[in-house]
């Protein structure tokens, strides 16, 4: 596959690994017990485990798996709301497959489907719109999640529905913005990292400029990276080069896809439909100011929550059991959570980090579990 296979070349990887080792053994890094780099995006976490990069990289380079998996930060009450809507008669809830196994307070969407809710998996929000056109006597609700990579698709689909006058189509939107999330993370005293691998596909939409504050205000290097193993290794090398030189700037390893200014049409679509909300609660992250999006008033008829009058003031009496918040911030490795592999497994996840193969816990469990646990 073009633009894929070239970036999976084992020989080049070998040389990048050599270079990374050299850098780690070069002053000033040589003296440090460990160097900690956070990959923000779950896609990167997935690549790391899928290609076994974690076992190939020197152990002194500690990879911290960040919050950039929109499924992993979905709060339980978002799932509850989705289920509440899906269980209503004549409602079809369309969702990306990833969200179906995320536990709500009582059950997941998969379990709700087994209990009678009409839940469909779609590959694209456009496929959800097609469902609405196929089922004019049903109300079709698209469960819209994702970072800026995905928000334009949501917004453009909604605008398409508007153009086509599809009236039985709404969205339950739980999108999350990367920049406020990153800011909150940087402000968290628990976070201890030396630099960042920046999210390639989010950046394809927002560009690289919005990250400047990471380097300027927090003094940490950030390299926007592609998703193939060579991309990731090269980006790690680039972060280490900066750390070795003592610089901190925003770099773009993924120039074949990411432009400095991002994608104007995509940004336009987002801002036409959505505006930031004051604050939102995310699983593992807690309240993050400005991280969530809401429909602009002129598009509120698209809002499934308004349409189905969900009780938004539900008390959140959830006692979180695991260490998800610490794992998300890199304060703990997944396997250090006492629930990992015992109570919490991909088939019975306690929390979303164990659901998506981009979640740190699931990735670790799926690709390296043999090292930790007995087989059930």
């Amino acid at each position: 596959m073009k633009f894929v296979d070239e970036f999976r070349d084992p020989e080049l990887a070998e040389h990048l690994l050599q270079r990374i080792k050299v850098l780690l053994n070069t002053a000033p890094l040589a003296n440090r017990e460990s160097v900690r780099v956070m990959e923000v995006c779950g896609g990167h976490t997935h690549t790391i485990f899928k290609y076994g990069l974690d076992r190939l990289l020197p152990s002194r380079l500690e990879l911290i798996h960040g919050p950039g998996c929109p499924v992993c930060v979905l709060p339980r009450d978002a799932i509850d709301t989705a289920i509440e809507i899906a269980l209503q008669p004549k409602v079809i809830l369309a969702s990306f497959g990833d969200a179906l196994r995320v536990p709500g307070t009582r059950m997941s969407l998969l379990q709700a489907r087994a209990a009678g809710a009409d839940v469909r998996t779609v590959y694209s929000p456009m496929d959800a719109l097609a469902l609405a056109k196929q089922h004019p006597d049903h109300s079709v609700v698209f469960f819209a999640i994702g970072f800026e990579t995905t928000i334009p698709a949501t917004a453009l689909t909604m605008l398409q529905a508007e153009r086509e006058n599809v009236e039985n189509f709404t969205m339950l939107a739980r999108h999350i913005s990367i920049i406020p999330t990153l800011k909150a993370l940087l402000d968290d005293p628990e976070l201890e990292n030396d630099g960042f691998i920046g999210p390639g596909h989010v950046s394809m939409v927002i560009g690289t400029e919005p990250y400047e504050f990471v380097a300027q205000a927090y003094g940490k290097p950030l390299v926007v990276s592609g998703f193939e193993p060579l991309d990731l290794l090269q980006s790690l090398q680039m972060v280490l080069e900066q750390l070795a030189c003592g610089t901190s700037v925003i770099e773009n390893q993924y120039a074949r896809v990411v432009r400095k200014q991002g994608n104007a049409q995509a940004q336009q679509a987002i801002s036409t439909l959505f505006e930031p909300r004051a604050s939102d609660y995310w699983q593992g992250l807690g309240e993050v100011a400005g991280s969530g999006l809401q429909f602009r008033p002129e598009y509120s008829h698209f809002d499934a929550e308004q349409h189905f009058l969900c009780d938004a003031s539900k008390p959140s009496d959830i006692v979180e059991q695991g260490c998800c918040d610490q794992v998300l911030k890199g304060a703990l490795q997944p396997q250090a959570c006492p629930l990992f592999g015992r109570v919490c497994t991909p088939s019975q996840p306690v929390s979303a980090l164990m659901v998506s193969s981009e979640g740190a816990c699931a990735a670790r469990y799926l690709y390296r579990s043999g090292e930790h646990r007995d087989v059930g």
């Binding site: 073009k2 080049l12 994702g146 970072f147 390893q253 074949r256 896809v257 994608n263």
Partner: protein, 91 residues
């Protein structure tokens, strides 16, 4: 979730809806071009281009030159390293 796959735009599907057929390793799907089109870009002009596909949308035109540059850098590094290795071995 942020999964994106490179594919080649091979034909316009529905010009009114702004959709095109993209081929990804022998698999075809109709995707929206909405993120690639502006006043100055005709859909037809995109045929033959490679694009990054995410949830049914073409999100970005892939810059083959940049891809080449990245790989070249890596190859140069490899060459340099081998040269240095050679020095070390010889030296």
């Amino acid at each position: 979730m942020c999964l994106g796959v490179p594919g080649k735009i091979i034909a316009i599907d529905n010009a009114d809806l702004g959709t095109a057929w993209v081929e990804i390793s022998g698999v075809r799907r109709s995707v929206s071009l909405a993120c690639l089109l502006d006043e100055t870009t005709e859909p037809e002009s995109l045929i033959g281009q490679w694009t990054l596909v995410h949830v049914g949308f073409a999100m970005s035109v892939i810059d083959a030159d940049e891809a080449q540059r990245t790989l070249q850098l890596l190859n140069e590094m490899k060459a340099l390293e081998q040269e240095m290795d050679g020095h070390e071995i010889r030296g």
